[in-house]
Point group: C3
């Protein structure tokens, strides 16, 4: 159910964005009960004029390596689950792809379970 | 009021994305009480590395013909209306544009009616 | 906390999109209590076939100068604050960048305060 939008600065190595999506997907499955195979993501790359970030908001130093990860998903997960997701995602992006943990910007948008159709014109999650 | 974001794989025929927006708009007007002329949409095309989908989540076979349709609109529509929208949209995309119904991925994001300004700096839908 | 997505027609003068982000950021700080430095935005440019708008919905005349501004931010701001934001943003885009006020399309998406991580894998706004 999640649809994930990832925004990166241009100039990353070939395949980098795809690898980010794999880490995001695996972390959603492992920490916030996203079902296996529920993997739908869009990655966009931007030049410096088009991806705006503050370089030290909340005293977190950010560079052009910043990654915006915006995820629309079903409502109802606890704050503890969300925290576990953020922590694991930043750690894995660091360990697996060398991303600085400071660069990982995450935002969740929550919706009702009847707000999805995964194909065939059916609301698969509605009662 | 809706703002629609449509994400497609590159390589579609000239004008295909525009035709998808016309079907989405017409279906919103016909099934979920979107006012005529309330038509605001953004289409983006992506390469294979940048548009990620599972090829059989929920046993629905998807191909590079997949279309992600994410719609931000006012809250309050019933589950029945949403179901009618999904069904009609998938059927029309199939009938009018030859899209496989399995490829039609839809997500709704609901907001309050005061969360829009359609121009002139006014919240046209607020009381 | 806000993440801002700005969608423009291609062909604007060099640096125009960046200037729009500066006006949006300043207006958020001045009118809706967004903290200084909380500035995260993505700008995309589109051709005529990919940025769809109605040229007179609600009797507001729009042209290819239309600007879609979609902002995800924390829930809880009053209708009065939102109205002040829309008014000031449209006025400033007009005064500072020569944008017609009719072209300024704004949408807010509200989320919970625990739905953000600004880096380091921490939910900085959660209790």
């Amino acid at each position: 159910m999640p649809i994930v939008r990832i925004s990166l600065m241009k100039g990353k190595p070939e395949g980098f964005g795809k690898k980010v999506t794999e880490v995001v997907y695996g972390t959603m499955v492992d920490t916030i009960n996203v079902p296996p195979k529920d993997n739908f993501q869009v990655i966009t790359e931007h030049d410096k004029e088009s991806l705006i970030y503050d370089p030290d908001y909340l005293n977190i130093p950010r560079t052009d390596g910043v990654i915006f990860i915006q995820i629309t998903l079903n409502e109802g997960r606890t704050v503890e689950l969300k925290k576990a997701f953020y922590k694991t995602l930043a750690e894995r992006l660091h360990q697996e792809l060398g991303v600085r943990m400071e660069e990982v910007f995450i935002n969740l948008v929550e919706v009702k379970k009847e707000n999805w159709s995964f194909g065939n014109g059916i609301a698969q999650y509605a009662q």
